[in-house]
Symmetry: C2
Subunit: 389 residues, 2 copies
């Protein structure tokens, strides 16, 4: 096991009906900006409940809607202006990963006076920047997928660039996870959440053996959970237990727990982000396309852990290590397909001659030596994209 | 899944050589009381390293040694006097569960001015008491077992009573877990740590099915880890990976993670505490005695989860539910015995006619309706103790 630091101070309030705790969780007499996305939280009444809870104490309430999927820097800058003008002192994100990620960026940028006028520099450089403070955040989660409700990272969009940041100051103070708030999600978004949870786990698990039993077993548990409940919660969206298990597993898949002390890959995400930035394909759907292709190209490096995955998650007990690995790749593709998600990039109309632009994106973002062993070059990435077609 | 709150702000610093972070973790210019147990941290040099690290900044250092296993209220009161007299503002526990639990009690009592002169009332009533603050705590863990390094609870001894407390203010600010610091432990203490970790997990897992997939799978992972590495790390104490896995699994077994949103039992601990208080049997060794007896007496209530445990942890796939359950109980007993720990209370010289005093203790402590379904009465406890002989 590698040395590590684990720290996660977010308070989780989990379960149906727990929005009633909002009035106790958000500071009294604060100036609160409530942030949300495209309107479904309005349509299905979640926003009204949130605002009514907040009105139980003397607070000044402001709203900022319209944070889009893969939130744009320009959109977030508008919220940052509001925060500065209205002297907002608490941010409440109501939505999924995009709203939460965007809110985290806002929280950093509002407070980072050194960066006024050049907020773009907080992305990337934001990873290491030693800011003193950020606006406190709470979240109400309406889409289980990204784990953003219990971590300190985010991804935002700058033009055609999808870029990440991470800062210890952006852990939400609290997150309310009420599975019933996700009942109204379209099936395709639930399927995305299942795949996102699955691949978050894979990025931290499927590298090379390092003999970390808690991390391996817990990752395998999340993967098995997704196999067990993924399809069912898409087909039966108001079954509380199924949905609660999706919500809690998705939080656990990216809160630092399973990645502590083990090598991590994240190539699938990095290669996928380029596809979202250029072709607008849903984040999770890019992961389903890249994962099998990457495993096929990188099988020599990942074979041993793939065989462990085959055995423990898929109960594939016969065959050579290579045969087990190949069988597990096939099974994983079939799993994604069973959720209604294709594993072929060409199904999105992408053709071979468009891949040069994708590779240029990787290079521009300096992703020239990625993976758990820092040896996945743009040339290998090209092979992977070709394989994914 | 039940509704729950999960909150755990302790920062974990894990790995060999990490004591060097102490100077950054403990506030500069503070007045620090370093607390430890019977002297092994002195003998093996851990205390010297700790003190040298702390001396790197301008701090006033005080020491308090001699915190015994199952720490006594009277001992802890002496440390509380020192804290008040010397205006200590940071407590650093260097040791195992007893030192950490004792330090937590000290941290509460020093600050609780309402309780001056009646600090005993902080036990039990400490669960609900609304204190404003407690002295901040850091820990350096030298014995993997209790999970105290990453939770807010503790157990101390008052006369012949072993009593617990829990207060959100007593989460350590940080805990340093360097597996190499545990290499010098006697084999019997390592075996105790394996059993303690195992039974902490069982208390939160082996109740009745509630369909919480993350919690179940993670618990099963910890149990499988203990089967895999338990005996090996006793026999091969300086194997880093084995010991690191024991340390990390033991922390994860009692930090709130696997118990969130599921029913919990804790009868094994409660029945065991009485045996430690009266006969002085090591805590973990009481658990190994009570667990099989309790399962045999309570098999009707626990049969379904026992069969799940049999199947997923022991790979027992044939037979009826009852047969699987019984087989799993037998396997668990054999596992404890393989670690050199008996599962028979009579091996400690305890006889049937001494059990009335034990039952009286349970009643005095108001443990008259315990377990996940609050129906384990003193009469049933008597049956369990008899079965354990």
């Amino acid at each position: 096991m590698n040395n590590f630091t684990f720290y996660n101070p977010t308070k989780i309030i989990f379960g149906k009906g727990e929005l009633k705790q909002l009035d106790d969780l958000v500071p009294k007499e604060s100036r609160v900006l409530v942030l949300y996305g495209g309107g479904s939280v309005k349509k299905f009444g979640t926003l009204d409940i949130v605002l009514n809870e907040l009105k139980k104490s003397k607070r000044e309430l402001f709203e900022f809607g319209g944070i889009e999927p893969n939130p744009k820097f320009e959109t977030l800058m508008k919220a940052i202006e509001i925060c500065r003008k209205e002297k907002i002192d608490f941010l409440l994100a109501v939505g999924g990963g995009s709203v939460m990620d965007g809110t985290k960026f806002i929280s950093l940028a509002v407070s980072a006076s050194d960066y006024f006028g050049r907020e773009k520099d907080l992305v990337y450089s934001g990873r290491g920047v030693s800011l003193k403070s950020a606006l406190p955040i709470g979240t109400v989660v309406t889409l289980p997928a990204t784990g953003s409700e219990m971590n300190s990272g985010g991804v935002i969009t700058l033009g055609k660039d999808k870029l990440s940041f991470n800062n210890i100051l952006t852990f939400p103070q609290f997150s309310i996870l009420d599975p019933t708030l996700t009942y109204t999600l379209p099936a395709t978004q639930v399927a995305n959440g299942v795949v996102d949870t699955f691949v978050h786990t894979i990025e931290q698990y499927l590298t090379y053996p390092i003999n970390a039993t808690f991390q391996d077993r817990t990752s395998e548990g999340i993967l098995k959970s997704m196999l067990e409940i993924g399809k069912k919660t898409i087909d039966d969206p108001t079954n509380y237990d199924l949905r609660a298990n999706l919500v809690w597993n998705s939080t656990m898949a990216l809160n630092g727990l399973i990645g502590a002390g083990v090598p991590q890959d994240w190539s699938i995400h990095i290669l996928g982000h380029e596809l979202t930035a250029i072709f607008g394909i849903d984040h999770a759907k890019t992961l389903a396309v890249i994962l099998p292709a990457l495993w096929k190209i990188r099988i020599d490096k990942k074979e041993e852990k793939l065989a462990q995955y085959a055995q423990r998650v898929w109960h594939i007990t016969t065959g050579t290590t290579r045969e087990k690995a190949l069988k597990a790749i096939q099974k994983t593709e079939e799993f994604f397909q069973s959720l209604g998600i294709t594993t072929k990039l060409s199904d999105y109309g992408v053709t071979e001659n468009q891949l040069d632009e994708v590779i240029e994106g990787l290079k521009r973002h300096k992703f020239t030596a990625i993976s758990e062993t820092s040896d996945l070059t743009p040339d290998i990435a090209k092979e992977i994209y070709l394989k994914s077609l």
